[in-house]
């Protein structure tokens, strides 16, 4: 019913940013999700200030305090959320873990976005053979699922460097592998919007006025492709965090001495059977809420801005 939609959709009133903002406050779930996300960001930023214990201090790990239940069960006021198997305060580790997970997620997606946007712009704007080649690459890359690629490459690196060295480099490796794996999603979306924008008159006008190609791309076309990119950005952060957690859970990610949420869960898993459920469950909850919030934000943005996003 294309002819219907055309008639019904009201002409855009006010700036795009304003619209997003107004729509946001109208949707309770979206507002809640945003609030929780900001809460997570604050935690991540100020983890060292908020954490009751300094995780780098020598007496942070104390086996005498191992596996103390959360304070509402054990009544021990020193550890609000209890301690893990090595006697570390769970609240502090979770705060730092969140910081790490979020950092890895955002950095990885930044790499994806930078790569994807540049490639997408180039492919869409230049067209022809370059476009063809770049999109073929994107197809092949996308046909390998990130998890599989990441597992394989991290496994190889781990075998190559040895565990010790690898653990020092883990964060960098995770960011790189996750970052390099999913650029095609950005590239396709940006390319599609560029192709749509390119046909509009202002681009021709700019070209006739003698503005350079690069300038047209970054100053004129890019801003118009931003709303789909914003959506993908949000959803991709969620998936990057989930991937990182899964890799860490497999022992291919962050080491338990410098844990992300995933490695905390992994370390806690074996203590499920001995009854110390909190070591595993509490970081799991932190992780699920974080990913859920990002997905909700992405879903809401998608529904609200409703541009075409090209994932498959």
């Amino acid at each position: 019913m294309s002819y219907l939609k055309k008639d019904i959709i009201p002409p855009s009133a006010g700036s795009r940013r304003q619209r997003i903002w107004c729509g946001f406050l109208g949707d309770k779930l979206a507002t809640l999700a945003l609030a929780v996300f900001i809460f997570y960001c604050i935690i991540a930023l100020f983890a060292p200030l908020l954490a009751p214990y300094n995780i780098n201090s020598l007496n942070f790990m104390d086996l005498n305090n191992a596996e103390i239940a959360p304070s509402w069960i054990s009544g021990d006021p020193r550890f609000l959320l209890g301690t893990d198997a090595q006697g570390r305060d769970l609240l502090s580790v979770i705060l730092y873990g969140t910081r790490l997970s979020l950092t890895i997620g955002i950095c990885a997606v930044l790499i994806q976005a930078t790569l994807g946007i540049c490639i997408g712009l180039t492919a869409g704007y230049l067209g022809g053979r370059v476009d063809n080649f770049l999109m073929r690459c994107a197809d092949v890359q996308l046909s390998f699922p990130t998890m599989m690629v990441a597992i394989v490459f991290l496994a190889i690196f781990q075998a190559l460097f040895g565990i010790e060295l690898y653990q020092q480099l883990a964060m960098l490796m995770l960011i790189l592998v996750i970052g390099l794996a999913e650029w095609p999603i950005f590239a396709r979306t940006v390319r599609a919007s560029v192709l749509a924008e390119k046909q509009k008159e202002y681009v021709d006008a700019a070209r006739i006025m003698g503005i350079s190609t690069k300038r047209i791309m970054f100053k004129h076309i890019l801003p118009n492709t931003l709303s789909p990119v914003l959506i993908i950005f949000t959803v991709q952060i969620a998936s990057a965090i989930a991937t990182e957690a899964a890799l860490s859970f497999l022992g291919l990610g962050m080491p338990s001495s410098d844990p992300s949420l995933g490695s905390l869960i992994s370390a806690g898993f074996s203590y499920m059977f001995s009854g110390s459920w909190w070591i595993c469950i509490l970081p799991s909850i932190a992780l699920i809420v974080l990913i859920l919030v990002m997905n909700l934000l992405g879903d809401w943005l998608r529904g609200y801005l409703n541009p075409r996003t090209y994932r498959d």
């Binding site: 197809d139 092949v140 046909s143 699922p145 998890m147 599989m148 190559l160 497999l250 898993f269």
Partner: protein, 326 residues
Amino acid sequence: MLTFLFRRLIQAFFVMITISVISFAIQGKLGDPVQQMVGTTVSPAERAHLRQELGLNESFTVQYWHFLKNAAHGNFGISYYYKKPVLDLIFERMPATLELAFCAIILVALFATPFGIYAAIRPRSILSRLIMAFSTLGLSVPIFIVAIFLVYVFSIQLHIAPSFGRGHTIDVFGIWKSGLFTKSGLHHLMLPSITLAFALMPIFIRLIRSEMMEVLHSEYIRFAWSKGLSTNRIYFVHALKNTMLPVITIGGIQAGTLIAYTILTETIFQWPGMGFLFIDAVSRVDTPLISAYLMVVGGIFVTTNTVVDLIYGLVNPTVKLENHGL
């Protein structure tokens, strides 16, 4: 159609070459084979001799050629840890993985299809909202947390299902160790297959729903309504057939995701399959095993993708023979 077929095969071929180069590089670069074979007690001269004999002084391409020739004969070397030919090890574990994947796929097909269709036909009903909420939640809960939850509830609290291992197996045709025919085998299969199905379910529910909704808004469905066809015929003949074609293709492309998730699931439940073997090999730096796993799984992956694409091309009368990726 022929060019389409040809292009697919060429592409599959190149991907296989890339995978084999990576596998070869792992075997050649990781650890010193001589060291692994003879230990530290042998003199440098003897080592050099052995290197010569093993062809390790040859150029990269010659060594790679040898590697390919051996691979073609099914010879991927001996596992450092198990001291057995790696291919035998992998084939020994393969039934476990395939049975797990098979059960998960059945579960997904059984639940995702009706849920997705229902959510597309009645997008505003409460059940559809629940289904969609579930699938958003499912996308957000990492599979290993689902596994932890299942283990906690069904193994630790309720003692209904075992949380690790494969239970009793019986030989089928002498080569296939199956857990599908014993009570304990099926018992052990429960949690892992549910976990794996959980990982794929949200993707498929959303996929089926969005494809179905798009089809339902198409002009030919409206024409079908205008012909006065029954509701069932429109939903299940006109719409479903058009929905399932892209779902099968995109579903086929999820084969890689399935492989990745089997690794996770097997690790969590200590399921004696290929994925578990692989993660073990990684932690033991058992390079022949790692490289053989990559070749085998890469082969399975490329084959499924190519076959699914070809089937799609054959089944769909209007197939637009455009680039779909691999």
